[in-house]
């Protein structure tokens, strides 16, 4: 029976990475994820790992590129403005098909923004962020335990698909403390015959590269990447449904917002409103299938985000016009109370007829 420890979200991510066999971390301080960087500074030497505070988030993601190219499990973390700095590096990592884990503990934006929680990096995470046709696998935890489980899973997914995996958290999850237990991941670490870790008797050099100047070659490479993404979309979408069987109104939320939404949903249920919730746990691949199924019987969807509306666009695409999709969001680091979400539920039920 695994022991439960009370841990802060940011630190739990660090410990989970170590449990997953990560021994290389390159990061830079930025609120609200600095505790993760500091935790790795303490823990990595204890497990004979490498911790390096890079000179910038740009340098850190390039150190990740280097280490990942030699075949080791490696992680970096930052928050929104720092993740913007990493976009070039992430595009290179995706183009070179390297496994790595990138943690974004989101804060309010745009620009320097604020230090309170936000969810306004959804577009950046899910739609690319960096240049070119690539995708990050994006995991969306909503508890400290999920921060742990998804961090461990992230390393396995990254290796299996040779792709960057982003853990999309937020300042609330990063700062909160909850009991967690650590379980080793399912997938065995993979051999990496492609790694450029020094030939040492290997006949042909390995080259880690994303440059393909001949358009024929670059097109083939992109087709290969898209085929990979199709496999990921077919196999790795994850979500949670609560009370959706008979629901007239389906709430859609992820991360900290899903916990507020759940409280509001319970209140609505107690008032006789048939409300359910669909919580995506992967934002890419986006769980389209349950939306297609639920939009048969539900009357409407209400999407809740700490942003001006980003995931709502993917919900609308998945629902494909079958039913109305409403939106309620807060920005700037403001977090809606369960009461205000409940009021939005009532308003949506009245307007969209989801009685």
């Amino acid at each position: 029976m695994a022991e439960k420890i009370l841990m802060k979200g940011n630190e739990a991510i660090g410990e989970a990475a170590i449990v997953a066999g990560c021994r290389h971390y390159f990061g830079y301080p930025i609120t609200p994820q600095t505790e993760l960087t500091e935790y790795m500074a303490k823990r990595m030497p204890q497990v004979q790992g490498v911790f390096l505070q890079a000179e910038s988030e740009v340098a850190a993601i390039n150190m990740v590129y280097g280490a990942a190219g030699t075949g080791v499990r490696v992680m970096t973390s930052s928050s929104s403005p720092g993740i913007s700095l990493k976009q070039e590096g992430i595009s290179y990592i995706a183009g070179a098909e390297l496994p790595c884990v990138i943690v974004n503990i989101m804060r309010g934006g745009p620009g320097l923004g604020g230090i309170q929680p936000g969810q306004a990096d959804y577009f950046q995470a899910v739609k690319g962020g960096g240049h070119g046709d690539y995708r990050n696998i994006v995991l969306a935890p909503n508890s400290v335990q999920e921060l742990v489980d998804m961090t461990i899973q992230a390393f396995d997914l990254a290796e299996h698909y040779r792709n960057p995996v982003m853990l999309l958290g937020d300042g609330a999850l990063g700062q909160m403390m909850e009991p967690v237990e650590f379980k080793i991941g399912d997938m065995a670490p993979m051999a990496k015959p492609w790694a450029a870790n020094g030939m040492r008797g290997r006949k042909e050099p390995n080259i880690i590269n994303s440059l393909h100047l001949q358009p024929e070659k670059l097109e083939q490479h992109n087709i290969h990447l898209q085929e990979k993404y199709a496999v990921i979309q077919a196999n790795e979408a994850r979500w949670e449904e609560l009370h959706t069987d008979d629901a007239d109104l389906i709430l859609v939320a992820y991360g900290i917002t899903s916990r507020i939404a759940r409280t509001a949903m319970e209140k609505a249920r107690s008032e006789g409103l048939k409300v359910g919730m669909l919580r995506p746990q992967t934002l890419w691949p986006f769980p389209e299938a349950p939306f297609q199924r639920l939009s048969d019987n539900a009357k409407a969807f209400l999407v809740l985000e700490l942003s001006a509306g980003q995931m709502v666009e993917d919900v609308r695409l998945a629902v494909n016009g079958k039913k109305p999709v409403a939106f309620y969001g807060r920005t700037g680091g403001m977090m809606p109370s369960p009461k205000s979400v409940y009021e939005q539920i009532v308003k949506t039920v009245q307007e969209k007829g989801g009685k």
């Binding site: 870790n197 008797g201 050099p205 080259i207 880690i208 590269n209």
Partner: protein, 250 residues
């Protein structure tokens, strides 16, 4: 190769270089490859190529190679060396890569004393993109983005990277050489060899700045370019050692 006095080093693949006629990249690549051969380290060497004319360097060396984003090679090399400490790691960078966009990365790799070797090819111009001004372009030098000649009032003075990096304690061996004549070439090779030897000893950051020609974008023949380098570049960028490990200095 018992029947040959001189032949291609093993660490250099037998493929044609894409470089312009008379470009010194070919010479510098070969010197690095000769050093890898002579030290017997090719099998555990990992190189990091830049963005610039030598972006395709990863196709020429017979060892594991990385292609890095513009300026980021020292950070990539840091990730490589920290995860493979017994490998020999080098970066190969031009003046845009190292002295413009990558200034933070090279300064901090040197400051941290990363056990990597940087080959810095300084030809005072941006070659790959067609001849724009570099941070190391000389005053009055005409380039595509200094068509009236570089003026200090608008573009500042050229940067002497070797002298600057030598002020960092983590930098153990910083030297400037050239390959525009046989005498300079021999010294350049000796410097490159010493830089790799210091890395093998586990000491800190080493860099060899190699003044080079860019005949195409300087608008000269290769022979004229070698002469311009001697008269103009070496005057502003003196050859010599700016940092040596303590033991050698004694």
């Amino acid at each position: 190769m018992a029947d040959k006095i001189f032949a291609r080093p093993q660490a250099l693949k037998d493929v044609a270089f894409h470089y312009c006629p008379g470009c010194h990249h070919g010479i510098i690549h070969r010197l690095v490859a000769e050093v890898l051969d002579e030290l017997g380290i090719t099998d555990k060497t990992i190189g990091v190529a830049p963005v610039g004319c030598s972006v395709l360097a990863y196709e020429y060396f017979n060892c594991d190679m990385f292609e890095a984003a513009h300026g980021r090679a020292p950070a990539v090399a840091t990730g490589v060396k920290r995860s493979q400490p017994d490998a020999v790691v080098f970066t190969y960078q031009g003046d845009g890569d190292l002295a413009a966009i990558g200034t933070a990365e090279i300064v901090h790799a040197a400051a941290r004393g990363e056990r990597i070797t940087t080959i810095f090819v300084n030809n005072a111009i941006y070659g790959m993109t067609g001849g724009q001004m570099a941070p190391t372009s000389l005053i009055d030098q005409v380039t595509n983005t200094s068509p009236y000649g570089r003026k200090a009032e608008t573009a500042g003075m050229p940067i002497r990277m070797s002298e600057m990096l030598a002020t960092l304690d983590g930098a153990k061996f910083i030297t400037r050489v050239a390959v525009n004549n046989p005498g300079n070439m021999a010294k350049a090779k000796a410097a490159i060899k010493k830089a790799f030897e210091i890395q093998l000893q586990g000491d800190g950051f080493t860099m060899v700045e190699v003044l080079s020609t860019c005949p195409t974008n300087w608008g000269m023949t290769p022979i004229e370019a070698a002469g311009w380098l001697e008269k103009q570049l070496i005057t502003y960028y003196p050859l010599g050692q700016f940092k040596v490990p303590e033991e050698v200095a004694k």
